[in-house]
């Protein structure tokens, strides 16, 4: 029961309370760049969730057994970026061979994730929180789910905004930023949740 409640707490906290996009302000570039269409937003979300989960696991191991052993925590960022970039490359090759359909639907988003700061951000947050391995992976996975959740909501809103009558000066990116602000405010309301 303890494990289940632990998972539940991590899930709620990663998805709603400490949402990567709206509370931590990480990964804003794909949030605004890839949220024009629902399909591509879903693809991006899936790819990010996958990579964050993998990256959380591997960076935890690297941090614990490599940087920790040699007392080189100050080189965390460099090591993590190297690891994440290689991981994304590897995952891309792997998916291309084994699941070509998924590869085609993820398309250009998979290599783009290399530069997504949400991946690096969550990895570093995990280390700073001194989480255990399982907690890190769970936090990464639910962080990715939170990212997907918000980017899909945004894509839905923007698809509707396209059809709405928006003043000329606000068309396109300005209204998208206003919408993003409103969404962040709405998520602020969830920060009162406590267990």
């Amino acid at each position: 029961m303890d494990i289940l409640s632990n998972i539940f707490v991590i899930a709620i906290s990663a998805i709603f309370l400490n949402n990567v996009i709206l509370t931590r302000f990480l990964g804003l570039c794909p949030y605004l760049g890839v949220s024009k269409k629902l399909d591509s937003a879903l693809g991006m979300g899936m790819a990010v969730t996958f990579v964050i989960t993998m990256a959380s696991a591997i960076t935890w191991v690297i941090n614990m057994y490599l940087l920790g052993k040699f007392n080189m925590h100050y080189l965390q960022t460099v090591a993590f970026i190297l690891t994440i970039a290689s991981l994304v490359q590897f995952v891309e090759l792997f998916i291309q061979k084994t699941v070509p359909a998924l590869y085609r639907s993820l398309g250009v988003y998979l290599p783009l994730i290399t530069t997504n700061c949400a991946v690096l951000g969550i990895a570093i947050i995990n280390i700073n929180d001194n989480s255990s391995f399982i907690d890190s992976v769970l936090n990464g996975f639910f962080g990715g789910i939170g990212f997907t959740f918000v980017i899909i909501l945004m894509a839905g809103l923007r698809e509707r905004l396209d059809k709405a009558e928006v003043p000329a000066a606000m068309k396109g990116m300005p209204i998208a930023l206003v919408t993003a602000g409103c969404m962040a405010l709405a998520f602020l309301g969830l920060s009162g949740l406590s267990f």
């Binding site: 490599l66 040699f70 080189m72 090591a79 190297l82 590897f90 090759l93 061979k97 084994t98 070509p100």
Partner: protein
């Protein structure tokens, strides 16, 4: 001091080396075999990504040729040269497809031959004009002359003459369909280059309305004379508009002769057929094939072409087994 520099350098160097080896190994293990032919064909194709072949870009077409065994003659910009190169790569026999060229199916739209509802002063863009209460033309189907097609044509094949009409240069037109896609009223159709007959009207108005609205006085009024008289049943009448099925059309020109409003335009120079009595063996093939029934003569007797009725379709000229028919222009 040395430790601070040397240790991380060794560690990161080895880390990068390990990742490099893993990735290098993975790229071998997970290598997806792409047919080298795709790459080759992609290089041969013109790379304009016009989409006339019906695939997303040249790369898409190259993939379709190799993987789905698609016809190799679908690239109009590349033409014969590209087709032969693809044929060489694929080891196929090249069979040329007839080139389609764009044709604007409206005779109106110039400075003097258009009837207006209102004066338009606004964005010079066919789409914008088309949205404003059905355009400034009285005819809701006609050309609104903001020249989106000219802007769409990257080959400079469309120009405006001094009466304000758009002229398509069939030498420059490569059949990429960019102009056809740009026309908000769908007035531009792709027509095989050997067919010179067009219904130069897209009006679906009834006869009275069409006559009243057309500034060029050559509307298709949907009378159906062409459809009834076409010997090849190549003309279909729907929504008060005649459309030619170019798969069936033999370019005989009978419809253009008969059209009461001159909506059907024939761009071909037509002569009259004459039969050389020395060569004619009286086989009656020409008489059977003549769409205008103007050739008379019994079996094994010399045939005569009625010069009054001959429409110059050249079908007898093509069909005569003894080359006894001469075209007299």
């Amino acid at each position: 001091m040395l430790e601070i520099i040397v240790f991380p350098t060794i560690l990161f160097g080895s880390l990068a080396l390990i990742f490099g080896i893993i990735l290098g190994y993975a790229s071998k293990v997970f290598q997806v075999k792409t047919d080298p032919k795709i790459e080759k064909i992609n290089e041969v194709l013109p790379g304009v990504n016009c989409g006339a072949c019906g695939y997303p870009g040249c790369a898409g077409y190259a993939e379709a040729i190799v993987q789905n065994d698609v016809e190799i003659n679908l690239c109009p910009p590349g033409g014969k040269a590209v087709m032969n190169q693809i044929a060489e790569i694929m080891g196929k026999v090249a069979s040329e497809k007839e080139k389609n060229i764009a044709s604007i199916l409206c005779s109106s739209g110039g400075y003097v031959n258009t009837n207006f509802k209102y004066d338009y002063h606004g964005i010079e863009n066919c789409k914008a004009v088309n949205l404003l209460s059905g355009g400034p033309n009285q005819c809701n189907y006609g050309c609104v002359f903001q020249n989106d097609c000219i802007k769409a044509c990257i080959y400079g094949a469309i120009s405006v003459d001094k009466t304000g009409m758009r002229i398509i240069d069939i030498e420059k037109c490569i059949g990429c369909t960019a102009c056809a896609k740009s026309c908000p009223r769908k007035l531009i159709k792709m027509i095989p280059i050997s067919k010179t007959i067009n219904v130069k009207c897209s009006s679906k108005d009834k006869a009275f309305e069409a006559r009243k609205n057309c500034g060029n006085k050559t509307p298709c009024i949907g009378c159906g004379i062409c459809a009834k008289n076409c010997p090849y049943k190549a003309i279909v009448l729907s929504n008060n508009l005649a459309t030619i099925d170019y798969d069936l059309c033999t370019n005989c020109g009978l419809c253009a002769k008969q059209c009461p409003t001159k909506a059907i335009i024939d761009n071909k120079k037509r002569g009259k057929a004459l039969i050389d009595f020395k060569k004619c063996i009286g086989c009656t093939i020409c008489a059977k094939k003549c769409p205008a029934n103007c050739i008379s003569g019994e079996l094994k007797r010399m045939h005569i072409v009625d010069q009054e009725k001959c429409i110059g379709c050249e079908i007898c000229y093509e069909k005569c087994p003894k080359q006894a028919v001469v075209m007299n222009y």
